[in-house]
């Protein structure tokens, strides 16, 4: 039996989803922020033990380890990336700071500038110039380049971004600058813009390259360490990484542009949500992921979570690689509650995994949402927490709440805990409203899909406030981003610039570019252990009318397995121009028959199928009421009362539970609020429905 393992490292927990045939096995343990790979190995050891194997025995049988990470995001949140410098075309060193004029809010004159990841003193111009057609207008001034590089070295620069104008049509100057940097600063990490984002225009490319350079050393170091640890432990295959576009690829492929893992942890959850939603006939989803530190919201339309490239602003920097869209709010189980200023605030500061909430018993002194949930009886110190990794403790919880919340607000500890619950709830509801209102959707039309360790605690009450009638909680909810990573496909999505009037386009040249992309994709996919036979190639062209700035992508052909260029014959270009007119009509309500479209780029999306978790739904199992395991005093919004507690392990498809009730799953707690009913579908996943009054 072979295994596939998805791993998602969050701020507080590291989640594991192991696919064993059709069976999905979950595990979760605390993250180890000082060296995150430690937590990964701990978890893998635990999974091995569950299978009755040693770590080495297990890893020898693992086909793929797929990993989504927030290490790039954390670097940008904490602003502790590498000391970075920029070498660019002389006369253009301020593009990164000027941002094409963009400001996040045109009405807010109080908006402060972003923290500079490369301050002006480390942005240096070098005389050189390539023109739009790739010709050299001004040769690279190597002496000036060397002295600029020495100025960077003098400032302690560890990572150098190189971005020159029109390098994507001719990278000769960027490549030479990279050699010079390697000579002058042998230890420096180098990011080349024509590799990170080989397309125009310059601001998008320099910004993406600068962020890549800033987070790159940290990301590479982390991935290298993790992959070495895995190797030492007996894993001989490639570590696959979740990309921000929702696909997965190898470390080797991502080596030049580690920025492609930005936000890849949340992307896994969204891909998984779309898959599970489709299986349950819910294609319009509001996905909420509440973990220890953050609350991530995304909207799925038509069962799809499309990646968007271009104008993506992340942590106030433009990162133009394709990304699945997720909004993040600083609200999680670890969010700190304080009434020091006179009003109760919950988050965005978080206790994280260390020291964590007071009730983790790891030295935390500040009360958190998790502590409040313990006081409210939503969580318990009698049950195992996080799959039995540890138990919550009451010691110090009341004192912390008294000191930081109840005291200043002059109320009881239980009232204080309830207020914390209300505030974090309202924060999350407002965040959802802003997002859905921005998208013009009414939340009432959506199904809420909740995951993350803490998502299901709040899901139904949030749904109620938003007017949502139906809530889905996958049984795999707590490790859902890890499960999602298993649902993602290995995928390479690349393009090459080729700007030419459609009537003058050379099919031989287009074919040659496709071939280059194809060979590159095949190389990396084969290196990752996939065969050509399983490779699916979607060949595409970007087209636009003359003068347009945005292109539409038109499909040329999809080929499975061996290369087959029979589609790329002499008539292809004429067909593509016709398809472009049709697509333009469909998208923009008009076609311009009198204008001849131009080709702007040649694209390939290469992917391969892998075994995925099987998601399903339905309610064919006989319906019956479940039997509670016990009762506990808890406050589900209507004051404290004896509340039925169900054990997730006792529940099977067809079971139905009327609120108020609490379901304790191994890694999460599902709260069935008064007025709600929970039942298990045929896949063993929970569906909660609002009951008519």
């Amino acid at each position: 039996m072979n295994y596939r393992i998805g791993i998602d490292i969050g701020g507080t927990f590291t989640d594991f989803a192991m696919l064993k045939g059709q069976e999905l096995i979950l595990h979760k343990n605390l993250s180890t922020p000082d060296d995150r790979s430690v937590g990964v190995i701990q978890g893998l050891e635990r999974l091995a033990a569950m299978e009755g194997k040693s770590l080495t025995q297990l890893l020898e049988q693992v086909e793929a380890i797929i990993h989504g990470t927030t290490v790039a995001d954390n670097t940008l949140i904490e602003m502790n990336g590498a000391c970075t410098g920029l070498l660019t075309t002389a006369g253009f060193r301020d593009e990164l700071e000027l941002r094409r004029g963009f400001k996040e809010d045109i009405w807010d004159v109080r908006l402060a500038p972003p923290v500079p990841i490369i301050p002006r003193r480390r942005r240096l111009g070098v005389p050189e110039r390539i023109r739009f057609d790739g010709s050299v207008h001004t040769p690279l001034d190597e002496n000036a380049a060397r002295s600029a590089i020495r100025r960077l070295a003098k400032q302690g620069v560890e990572s150098v971004a190189i971005c020159t104008l029109f390098c994507f049509t001719n990278p000769v100057h960027e490549l030479r600058l990279a050699q010079l940097v390697a000579e002058e600063m042998p230890d420096a990490h180098i990011s080349l813009s024509h590799q990170v984002l080989p397309k125009s225009p310059e601001f998008e490319r320099v910004s993406t390259t600068a962020v890549n350079a800033y987070v790159g050393p940290r990301v590479s170091q982390y991935i290298n360490r993790l992959s070495e640890r895995l190797k030492e432990s007996g894993y001989s295959r490639h570590l696959l990484l979740m990309q921000s576009n929702g696909g997965v690829m190898t470390q080797e492929y991502l080596a030049g542009s580690p920025i492609r893992v930005l936000s890849s942890g949340p992307a896994g959850g969204v891909i998984g949500s779309a898959a599970i939603g489709r299986a349950k006939g819910a294609t319009e989803l509001l996905c909420v992921d509440m973990g220890g530190t953050s609350y991530d919201v995304s909207v799925i339309r038509d069962g799809q979570a499309p990646a968007q490239s271009g104008w993506n602003w992340h942590h106030r920097y433009l990162v133009a690689v394709p990304m699945v869209q997720v909004e993040t709010l600083g609200a999680g189980g670890g969010s700190i509650c304080s009434a020091a200023t006179g009003t109760l605030q919950v988050g965005p500061a978080s206790a994280g995994a260390a020291p964590g909430p007071v009730c983790y018993g790891r030295g935390g002194k500040l009360p958190t949402v998790t502590d409040a949930m313990l006081v409210l009886g939503l969580l318990s110190d009698e049950s195992e927490f996080a799959g039995g990794s540890f138990k919550l403790v009451r010691e110090g919880v009341a004192e912390a709440l008294q000191e930081h919340v109840a005291g200043p607000m002059k109320c009881s500890i239980e009232e204080a805990a309830f207020d914390c619950w209300r505030v974090v709830n309202a924060n999350m509801t407002q965040a959802v409203r802003r997002l859905t209102a921005q998208k013009g959707s009414n939340p009432e039309d959506l199904t809420l899909l909740a995951y993350g360790g803490n998502g299901p605690v709040f899901a139904a009450i949030q749904a109620q406030e938003l007017g949502i009638q139906r809530v889905l909680v996958p049984r795999t909810s707590p490790g859902f981003s890890a499960t999602g990573a298993l649902a993602a496909q290995p995928c390479i999505d690349e393009e090459r610039s080729y700007i030419v009037a459609g009537t003058k386009a050379d099919i031989q040249h287009i074919r040659q570019l496709w071939q280059e992309l194809d060979q590159r994709a095949e190389h990396f996919l084969q290196q990752a252990g996939f065969s050509r036979q399983d490779m699916q190639c979607r060949y595409q062209l970007n087209l636009r009318y003359p003068g347009q700035n945005w292109s539409l992508t038109v499909e040329a052909a999809t080929v499975q397995g061996a290369q087959d260029w029979s589609f790329a014959g002499d008539t292809l270009i004429a067909q593509m121009l016709e398809r472009f007119h049709q697509l333009h009509f469909a998208r923009y309500g008009h076609a311009r028959d009198s204008e001849a479209p131009e080709i702007t780029g040649v694209r390939l999306i290469a992917s391969t199928e892998v075994p995925k978790p099987h998601f399903s739904g339905g309610f064919t199992a006989p319906q019956r009421a479940a039997v509670p395991a016990k009762q506990r005093r808890a406050n589900l919004g209507h004051g404290f009362r004896a509340t039925d507690i169900y054990r997730g392990a006792d529940l099977v498809p067809g079971h139905s539970i009327a609120g108020p009730a609490i379901i304790e799953e191994a890694f999460t707690t599902i709260v069935v609020y008064p007025g709600w009913n929970a039942r298990l579908d045929d896949a063993g996943d929970y569906e909660l429905n609002r009951q008519p009054n």
Binding site: G91, D94, L98, R100, V109, L165, P201, A437, H584
Partner: protein, 608 residues
Amino acid sequence: MSFELNRRLVARRPALDTHATVDSVTASIVNGAFETICFEVATHLGRAASSAIINQSNERNASIIDAHGRLAGISVGIPQLLFVSPLAVRWGLENVRQDDWGPGDVFVGNDPDYGGGHLPDYTVYAPVFDGRGELVLIQALQAHQGDTGGKDPGGFSVDSTDIFGEGLGIPVLKLVHRGQPRRDVIDLLIRNNRFPSFAGDIAAMISAVQAGAVSLQALLTRYGVDLVKAAVNFNIDQTAQRFRQAVAQWPDGDYPADVWIDQDTAGNPDVHVRVTCRIAGDQLTVDMTGSDARPELVNVWNTFANTRGYAIAQLASMVDPAINKNEGLFYAVEMVIPEGSILQPPPNKPAALGAFHPAVEVGEAICIALSPILPERCAPQVYKLGMPNAVIGFNERGEMWMDQGVDVRASDASATQGLDGWGAMCAGLGNLILATAEDAESRFPVLNLAREMTTDTGGAGRWRGQPGTCNIKQVLEPVSAMTWMVSRKHPLRGLNGGDDAGPYSNRFLVGTEQEFEVQNALNAQLPAGAITRYQYGGGAGFESPLLRDPLAVREDVLDEYVSIEAARERYGVILTGSIEDFDLAVDVNKTEDLRRQRQTAKTWDSAR
């Protein structure tokens, strides 16, 4: 075409008739949906349009107008477009019967004497009706066109004495009748435009508002017409109320300010804008009495709709940014705009350049006027560059091309209390996405040689303005170039004791024996290889530079925003060490001494 018409167009319009009531949450969802539809309409145009100023630089704005001609919602746009569309649409609404409005119609207007901005800003709009055929909402879209068929290419003329020299004025024209494009009419517009991309741009504008109208129709079906009307009324009232609540916090009084423009395009000097902001309780009156009305002025006539729009855009930046932008702002502010002045010109005045100046000076004057009482929010939402260097040529097929010069890098990002000026421009222009060298050079025979910030150009201050950039550009073919220089004599004004921004300068034929500095308006023929060099002034400073934290000055010097010399001369900060060695340090004692001397000299100066 008269002051009387202007008065009629701006007359306050009543709420929509509805029996429904709406709660604040539903009203905000409808508002969010409006903003989203406007965003989608603007994006549709950006994606499909053919000219760079629209598809790269976002010089477009979508809005939703209600059946009474009130602004119900907008997308983010640029100040000169944001609040202008209602008046052009109101002229259309005066002619509903004559023009036989019905579902599926699309109209266009651009005439400054009929509610428009300036001729290049086309407003294209599509009405949306309920099931009984009653007009409910109008999807409007404005975008800047590259040509207007006037005597000079490009939509601007530096020496036109009336609007007819500037091109084709359109009070209202039906482009699509009941879903069927009127080809004859559209062909007429295309024929009267030099820009080959105009056909694509107008097609994209039409399809964009049609898409918006479909979305609005779906919204009406989803929520019901009565409820949507109630939401529009609710949101407008709430905006007016919230703006008034803000004004009520401001101290009562008269706050005047004067701003000057160097000269008009004919050389008449010191064109004057005067604004008095009068606060009484929760009522703000913006009184522009005293502004220039010299009949001999050329090209500095700002259209009436633009004057109102700029005033509101500046004011909206001086209150809580979360207040929804809609007709409620116009409800809350009284404006006195003297008829016949440069801020409400007599009919048939040229309008193209007036939409730059004195348009922005209206906002600047309001900002200066209110700066003593709103130090945290007084950042002028302006651009003081006259007009960019527009470069125009014709390709081998005789088709016009134009590099519109929306490649300004840094200009006019001023400081306000507690915050240095940053980025390329003021916040209000944050949606104008600047053109890039790579896109421009792929389209036009030009080469961008440099566009970096110039040390010491921004205004010094306790909080300093962002330095301005120096844009150096070479043309590779013979072209005609058009420009208009201001802000050499009257740069952007420093506030509350801060220094003014640097003066602008613009040099042509750089590096040749014929090199010269542009003094005023210019329409020049440039040979292949000619280089232009445009230095922007940067933002103005806030409060005395002698109060700036010396360590911040040291950082500024390391980053070459400020020179070592200027640190001493303008900030009174003495630094030791060198930039080359990155070991600059503040000489605390010498700095304190120098600042004390300066302070005394300054006090003595002002006492004299």
